[in-house]
Amino acid sequence: MFDLGKYADAILSSWGITLALLIALVLVTWRRSVQVKKALHAAEQRASKNV
């Protein structure tokens, strides 16, 4: 690991928190998208059977 000097704690915590939040945002978005897509697909299939 290269030397970040006296600001190492500030830099690593800033980058760590940022990456964690961005990854969480992407995962939440992706997970919700998959869940809704599945639920809609199931609902459309039920609707087409009922017709």
């Binding site: 290269f2 970040l4 000097g5 006296k6 600001y7 190492a8 500030a10 830099i11 915590s13 800033s14 980058w15 928190i17 940022t18 939040l21 961005l22 945002l25 992407v26 939440v28 978005t29 992706w30 919700r32 998208s33 809704v36 897509k37 639920a39 809609l40 609902a43 459309e44 039920r46 609707a47 009922n50």
Partner: protein
Amino acid sequence: MSLWEFANPVKFMALSGKVLPWVVGLTVLTLVPGMIWGFFFTPEAANFGNSVKIIYIHVPSAMMAINIWVMMLVTSLIWIVRRHHVSVRAAKAAALIGVTMTVIALITGAIWGEPMWGTYWAWDPRLTSFLILFLFYLGYMALWAAIENPDTAADLTSVLCIVGSVFALLSRYAVNFWNQGLHQGASLSMDKEEHVADVYYLPLLLCIAGFILLFVALVLIRTRTELRLVRLHRLEIRERMKDV
């Protein structure tokens, strides 16, 4: 062809489905190299030392926090004037991304402020207006969650968005208005003498482009999810009506 055609959910889904893989690809191609360049390959700054590496996340997230609210303002106005569902759903979809960017900007700013200013927080005009913007984001999302009727929720959140825009603009121009407080002026400027040196500027531009593209990719995915939810709710209501 009119731009308003894409206010039609079917056309929006078709176009966004085609564009999305390209946007995701471009996001990876800009954000990953930009962050690696900024973190690993930029030199120490004379006055800030290595803490300058924080600007590659702080500046893009702060810019996005404000600009996402402006995007929400535009789409909310479109809803109020033309009643296009896609636009207000896009505003709703953008809110979580905006609040995340605001939190990142506030946290990284506070962490950077401690060694530079000797404090994590000061009631400086820019910092305070940014905190109020964060509260507006929370209020906007809470309002959507609290109101059952989607059209009423869209109306009220759109009005809230217009009110909150005052603080989005204050966050951007507070330093110019008051010319006081701890926060320095813009890091990027069209004036060559004002903006940061190229060695920091170029990776910063790449990170900003990456954050913008990440926002576009996420807002497209989230808007598509919102539109699917509308269709899902309609189908569920139709099912319940048949059961009755």
